[in-house]
Amino acid sequence: MIKALKLRLIKLREVISQLQEDLKTPTRRMVARNKIVGFISNILKYILVIGLCFVILYPLILQLAVAFRAPTDVNNTSILWIPGEFSLKNFEVAMIALRYFDALKNSLILSLGVTLLQLVSTSLAGYAFARLKFKGSGLLFGLALFTIVVPQTVISLPLLRNLTELKLVGKPITLFLMAGLGMGVKSGIFIYLFRQFYRGIPIELEEAASIDGANPFTVFWRIMLPNAKGAIITVALLAFVWQWNDYYFTTLFVSRSNLDYVTLTTQQVSVLYGLQQALTDAGVWGLMGQDVTKNPLFTSMILNTSGILVMLPLLVLYFFVQKMFVQGIERSGIVG
């Protein structure tokens, strides 16, 4: 035992003396210093990254912790993060208040349709602005950028009046129409993204194809689009999410005059401002006692749960496309 220890001590001394030898030559000293600095900065980096990840995930964790709490445990102060007994009662109540499946169906159809239409209109316009230059295309691109800068509120009121005259208000087709004509939620940004992306594809590809007898549309369809996968995924995800979370246009043009048409986001906001009313309408009073439902903590709990339910489809979607999305961004090579 002691012998083994002694051997180790000797070895340690050797290592230390070796280190001292090393530190005498300047290059080796440099190497050692770089190693130590790298190690410390790595640790700092991990601490920072983990902290920031926590800050990002904090609301999600909070929502989950609250959502699974049983309604009878509302006032129990000993329970904070981990619920005392798991219960799905909150989900039931929130689903009723949100008119969940109705709203989910509408949200899905609306977001998918709008995403597809926006992809078509913005990728065409973006490609034209990048490669198919004609007289005045520079000016038109300037106007497209201008639409990004102008806030929605500036155009909303006259637009609402015009659409009412055309009897388009209250139908989701209005939103499809706007998306198909390149005026959906933040379409200007998508045009810009597509233009920057197409500009990055080498022009030699196009020239080679045109020499082989391809017309501009074939070039676009066969060469540019397959190469633009990264940009398409990025834009599709953003368009889907922004339409899903859009409250302003959806309420103004559809939901406000057509109360039957609800999306998850509009329903969430209306629940936000009138939960008690929504619960009364849905007949939740019967499920639980008044002392529970009137409790402000209960209200907050239901709101949290409905928040999860609204974001859940998006999070699932993100989970599936996340890898493609990250890679798409890295390969897109967008430069201002």
Partner: protein, 391 residues
């Protein structure tokens, strides 16, 4: 299988021959005139015009030749019957590639342009016009327009109040908010983008987490954070953050300026907001970082540059065009959620603005838009000379 060719009937042939012959006659008349003109000009030694006319003559001659060929084909009954679609296609194929591209460019832009004209430009114009009018609701729908010049704007800044605050106060406070947020968001997102761009263990997972805020619904999240439960958890968390308080007290005591500490503390308080606002910006910066050619870093390394120098001398100039873009995006995005929006819902008399005072509503949104534009132009001018374009 060979497609069976459909030939023209005799009546069609005679019709076509007639048509082409009249066309040919017209062209020949034109050619005669040009010939006369050409001779006259060449006698006058006006060479520039005569060259131009010679070109025209060439084109006419080739057209006449085409007519002659067509006639010959028709007389021998060799002409295939084709529909309009094919005709257009044939004509299109004969065009030079440059012209084809222009035509497709126009075709591709048309859907967007229709949307722009119908939904955007007309509405913007109407808003501008409404903001210059005093609009009172008429009985039975519609409005009475009374042109009032800039009265709406003057009223807006002198009379309009919302729960005790004037428009000017709200505007200044939201501008100050933006001016604090803007540099923080941009610096933060560059920093995070550089961090995420390096390869370390688990970088895939970290990237996936950092882009989650793109998916977040901000109304929901804000409500979660500020709701009753949010406050409850927040209080629990705050007891763990004693350190930051002691640290700020320490900074105050050793006499580092109060303003700086306050700025830092407000930035720390907003850390959640800032992270969630900078999702898109991080994406943009990562894309920009990826497009920096690697040989720049290699040559910098060979010249003996440290990482710090490389960051300032290579990375920052190369992503500087993107800084401008994110600046614009950030301003637009954060102004959309500022307090001035509250003025748009309820006016000082407590009635809804949009239905009762559209003139005033338009004036507010125009002011809001102009300030937006002003900040962007200011930022643009500030950064314009520092932006470096690689290509």
């Amino acid at each position: 299988m060979m497609k069976k060719k459909i030939m023209l009937s005799e009546i069609e042939i005679t019709k076509k021959i007639e048509h082409i012959e009249t066309k040919k006659k017209n062209l020949e008349k034109k050619l005669d005139k040009l010939n006369d003109l050409y001779i006259e000009l060449s006698q006058k030694k006006n060479f520039r015009r005569s060259v131009a006319i010679n070109k025209k003559r060439g084109r006419l001659i080739s057209k006449i030749q085409h007519c002659k060929n067509d006639l010959e084909y028709l007389r021998n009954n060799e002409v295939e019957k084709i529909n309009i679609f094919k005709k257009i296609n044939n004509n299109f194929k004969r065009m030079p590639y440059r012209k084809q591209k222009q035509i497709f460019g126009v075709l591709f832009v048309i859907p967007w342009f229709i949307g722009f004209a119908v939904f955007f430009a007309s509405s913007l114009g109407t808003t501008l016009w409404w903001s210059l009018n005093d609009m009172a609701p008429k009985q039975g729908g519609g409005f009475n327009f009374i042109f009032s010049g800039l009265e709406n704007y003057i009223n807006l800044f002198t009379k309009e109040t919302l729960s005790g605050t004037t428009v000017l106060e709200v505007l200044t406070s939201s501008i100050i908010d933006i001016l604090i947020d803007l540099p923080t968001i941009i610096i933060f997102s560059i920093f995070i983008a550089v961090l995420l761009n390096t390869k370390f263990k688990g970088h895939q997972l970290v990237k996936a987490i950092f882009f989650i805020p793109v998916v977040y619904n901000m109304t929901v999240i804000n409500n979660t954070m500020s709701g009753t439960f949010g406050a409850l958890f927040g209080a629990e968390m705050d007891s763990g953050f004693q350190l930051s308080n002691t640290f700020s007290n320490f900074l105050m005591q050793i006499g580092i300026g109060g303003g700086l500490v306050e700025f830092l503390m407000s930035a720390v308080d907003r850390i959640f907001l800032i992270i969630n606002k900078s999702g898109i910006q991080i994406i943009m910066f990562i894309a920009a970082l990826q497009s920096i050619p690697n040989h720049l870093y290699e040559s910098a390394k060979v010249e003996g540059a440290t990482k710090y120098e490389m960051f300032w001398k290579v990375t920052i100039p190369m992503v500087s065009p993107m800084i401008l873009t994110t600046l614009v995006y950030t301003i637009v995005d954060s102004f959309g959620s500022s307090d001035i929006m509250n003025f748009l819902t309820v006016n000082s008399q407590g009635t809804t603005m949009a239905t009762n005072q559209p003139g005033m509503y338009s004036a507010i949104s125009v002011v809001y838009f102009l300030i937006n534009l002003l900040i962007i132009v200011f930022g643009f001018l500030l950064l314009r000379k520092r932006v470096f374009y690689y290509d």
